[in-house]
Amino acid sequence: MKKIYEVHGMKKLVSLALTFLIIQLLISTNIIDDYLQATLVTICINIILSVSLNLITGFTGQFSLGHAGFMSIGAYVCALTVIRMPTTLGFILGVFLGAATAALVGCLVGLPTLRLQGDYLAIATLGMSEIIRIIFLNLKITNGAAGLNGIPQFVNWLWLFIFTAGTILLITNFLKSSHGRACISIREDEIASESIGINTTKYKVIAFTFGAFCAGIAGALYASYFYFLKPDLFGFLKSIDVLVIVVLGGLGSISGSIIAAILLALISTYLQSFPEVRMIFYSLLLVIIMIFRPQGLMGSKEISFSVFSKLGNFFSSKKGRV
């Protein structure tokens, strides 16, 4: 058993290192130019956002429409830190401060609102993220509607990779732990899991806080790459953007979220000059998925290495038959 685990861990490490090196190579040979690099950053940020929202909505079953609010907290806190401390240390500090603030707010908001169920929770979280946006719009330190400008840029592929892979690993490992299992049981049946002794409120708040923390990281990365922040970037539509990714990938599938984040980023890069068409496409996608395939692309399944070996078997058996 232990051996299998080690082999699996090795495979994971090797594949992560390979992903990093290949993209690094493509960047240094300029095949991924500046424009594509911006898409790459968007993809990574969307992966962090959607995986963390999937933890809240897909795995714990708590429908949240306020992810953009947490993202904006991370973004603003990181930006304000980095502006005052434009060093790498300041950047790392900014990311963690931003994420921690988002987590703190997530915990404070989650404690009372997570008692609500389903659509009430959705509306409460939507209200919360609107309140956060309006506060940023009125604060002096965030420069109101004009926004913050000239945030020093520290994010490069290395940082992006560390934070994205780190978030995915953290969340997958959390879901494999007993705490993660408790969260999944809440999604399946809240009353039943309560009756077997799971403190449902506690685990809901843990998942919510954890999700907010990761959204804060995503916001911080956004702030430090795109130089510029304004409250309108983090409106209701941003939350919907993330929700579309999660729903398309499958509620309860980490690899689904990753695939959907990449897919949608590529599509919206092509539709960049037609923002209305992009939104019409998104909205139709939401409706059509819900009507014909409500479980999303991947359902609650994950892609893992066993899939490749199964595929291998499938093809070899086919060859054998022919």
Partner: protein
């Protein structure tokens, strides 16, 4: 004192519009337990239909109002048939996501056809353009028009819900869908009718807002829609008089916050009210507590 009374008048006008929209939310929620996000966009479409029938078709105010209500009704029924009916037995989150999708589709579809630019409603003429003074308080004819139209529509709605056969069916389905079906009520027709009623009211609200604020745009529904929903929750969702009370309350709060406080925080305060109600009394002002059974 004068300023206070003036704010009350403004609050009632604004509250009437919120109440009209909130009625649609509350009826649909009462019958299929869905927050119909697309409702606020039916209201937006109503405003646009009113605009085009006044400018392109040169209709008067009342024909334009009726025409907008008619188109909104059709739109509401079509949305229900295409998007929500296939999901009758799906999870509530699935239907909610669909509703968000339909809402975005209407917003950006409208934006695609009529562009995102703000349009201004044609000015009212004749008697409707006037205003009069009571003491130092100015009451415009438009405000009277809004309040009177709203009250007439509400009385009509109460009549339909309380006195007619289909109204009785609506109440039965919202109490217990399965039992109603066993009693021979056609549940699908009843649900469609509920959407039709709610959408007609939203269309009327759209035209009234166009007349009152003079400007419309494809995203005009988002915030009023959310606030109307908050109004419905405040009054107790699923309860028709609750939505009316909630609408007037939210309208008054908004007007008083802009009048006496900081208008920048107007929306934040409305959302804060929502969160407080949800935490303190999620069933709303007139709602009763029901315990969840396994």
């Amino acid at each position: 004192m004068d300023q206070f009374l003036q704010q009350v008048i403004n609050g009632i006008s604004l509250g009437s519009i919120y109440a009209l929209i909130a009625l649609g939310y509350t009826m649909v929620y009462g019958i299929i337990k869905l927050i119909n996000f697309a409702h606020s966009d039916v209201y937006m479409v109503g405003a646009y239909v009113g605009y085009f029938s006044m400018t392109t078709l040169h209709l008067g105010f009342f024909p334009a109002l009726l025409f907008a209500m008619l188109v909104s009704t059709l739109l509401g029924v079509v949305i229900e048939k295409i998007a929500y009916k296939p999901l009758r037995n799906a999870t509530r989150i699935a239907v909610l996501i669909t509703a968000i999708g339909v809402s975005l589709f209407l917003e950006y579809g409208t934006m695609f056809f009529v562009t995102a630019s703000v349009r201004s409603y044609p000015a009212m003429t004749g008697l409707l353009a006037g205003s009069f003074k009571v003491g130092n308080i100015v009451i415009s004819m438009q405000q009277i028009l809004i309040v009177v139209t709203t009250v007439i529509l509400m009385i009509l709605l109460q009549f339909i819900v309380k006195k007619t056969r289909i109204g009785k069916a609506m109440r039965a389905v919202s109490l217990d869908q399965d039992a109603a079906e066993l009693m021979g009520i056609n549940v699908n027709t009843t649900i469609s009718f509920t959407f039709a009623l709610g959408s007609a009211l939203a269309g009327a609200a759209g035209v009234l807002v166009g007349v009152y604020y003079n400007s419309i745009n494809p995203l005009m529904g988002v915030l009023p829609g959310l606030k109307a929903f908050i109004a419905a929750v405040f009054g107790g969702i699923g309860i028709i008089p609750g939505a009316m009370i909630g609408g007037y309350f939210i309208g008054a709060v908004e007007v008083f916050v802009s009048g006496y406080g900081n208008s920048m925080y107007r929306d934040a305060i409305v959302f804060a009210i929502l969160i407080i109600i949800l935490i303190v009394k999620p069933t709303g002002l007139l709602g009763k507590n029901t315990r969840e059974k396994v």
